[in-house]
């Protein structure tokens, strides 16, 4: 069998694998699945935005209207402001990642597609690697300062701070695990794919 004869063998292997009826069923199922997927994405975006807005609203309200004496509750006020700014920043980051950066162009050449995927992946790795600085520390730190400012130093304080620290450690651990297990292997594979194109011919 010669190299050129492989074409015929390939064609005969794959020819008519799907009947007309199967194709018709597939069309219907893909349409339905795409609709469900779109509504799931909408729901997820709304859910996250509402959660952020609730946090934002609650802390803004408590900071602006419930702290009468700014001088004596300076710490609570500071904590509230940090949480509000952190939430706005996180919202912006998510918005940037999803809307402005957008999805990869599926119509790009294989080379461009892989390179864009690597860039997107690098951004995601950076975000997860530095989650302490842009997400956890401002949000949990702000909440901690706010809590201390509101109720002062009492018996429940170690429990309150412990809970925040545990939440931070768990989130950080989860992100680093995700980088190690999913993102880095995927990045390596994509880089290998891109590099294969650069082999001198």
């Amino acid at each position: 069998m010669t190299f050129d004869e492989l074409k015929e063998s390939w064609k005969s292997q794959n020819a008519g694998a799907l009947s007309i009826q199967q194709r018709e069923t597939l069309v219907m199922q893909v349409c339905r699945r795409a609709e469900r997927h779109a509504s799931y994405i909408r729901f997820r975006d709304w859910r996250e935005t509402i959660a952020a807005l609730l946090t934002l609203g609650a802390f803004a309200f408590l900071t602006l209207f419930k702290i009468d004496d700014i001088v004596s509750s300076a710490m609570a006020w500071l904590g509230g402001v940090i949480v509000v700014i952190a939430t706005l920043h996180i919202l912006y980051r998510y918005h940037w990642a999803r809307m402005i950066e957008g999805a990869n162009d599926p119509d790009a050449s294989v080379r461009d597609y892989c390179q864009t995927e690597v860039r997107r992946l690098d951004h995601q790795i950076w975000l997860e690697k530095n989650i302490v600085w842009w997400h956890l520390l401002p949000l949990l730190g702000g909440t901690a300062i706010w809590g201390i400012g509101m109720s002062g130093i009492d018996k429940s304080l170690p429990f309150y701070l412990g809970l925040l620290v545990a939440t931070g450690i768990a989130s950080h651990w989860w992100c680093q695990r995700n980088i190690r297990r999913k993102l880095l292997p995927l990045r390596k594979e994509l880089l290998e794919l891109s590099a294969e194109n650069d082999v001198p011919v």
């Binding site: 799907l18 194709r23 795409a34 469900r36 119509d107 294989v110 080379r111 461009d112 999913k182 194109n197």
Partner: protein
């Protein structure tokens, strides 16, 4: 709105009629037996979702081939989340092409050879097998036509060294 959706559905139906064999071939080349349906479904979803963005720079068939190939190249096994798994397409496809126990000697040889190639060489080989003209294939891969020819020549040599002695 409904009109646009119907147009997209018609385009998709037409594409599937003309290209399902090729797409199944891509799924077969990039996924292990038992995972091919997952990849095939993912390819269909990507093509459907991207259809609205087709700008007409290339023919619909070439464009869809490119989307299918990009999806296959970056597809990770077992990464479908629970939501996708729950909404997975189920279609009565008893056996993907090439899954039959009674493969011909040639078919077996070809599948073995495809499996031995790197992901990118496999893509070039698939373009050759699907008789995509070199210029179009080079455009799909994002390399020059000369580079594509050289790579194809190397693949040919590799095949001859392994199976034609």
């Amino acid at each position: 709105m409904l009109g646009i959706l119907n147009d997209r559905e018609n385009d998709f139906r037409m594409l599937l009629d003309r290209n399902s064999d090729r797409w199944l071939g891509i799924a077969k080349a990039y996924a292990a037996k038992g995972e091919r349906e997952d990849l095939f479904q993912e390819m269909l979803m990507q093509i459907w979702k991207s259809l609205a963005r087709h700008e007409g720079r290339s023919s619909l068939d070439t464009w869809a081939y490119r989307v299918a190939l990009n999806t296959a190249l970056t597809w990770k096994r077992g990464t479908r989340n629970r939501h996708f798994a729950k909404n997975a397409i189920t279609f009565e496809l008893d056996q993907m092409p090439g899954d039959t126990g009674s493969q011909t000697r040639e078919a077996k040889m070809l599948n073995e050879f495809l499996a031995s190639l790197s992901k990118k060489d496999r893509a070039i080989m698939l373009l050759f097998l699907d008789a995509i003209p070199n210029q179009e294939a080079a455009e799909i891969m994002g390399i020059t036509e000369g580079a594509l020819r050289v790579r194809l020549h190397r693949i040919r040599k590799q095949f001859e060294a392994s199976f034609c002695e």
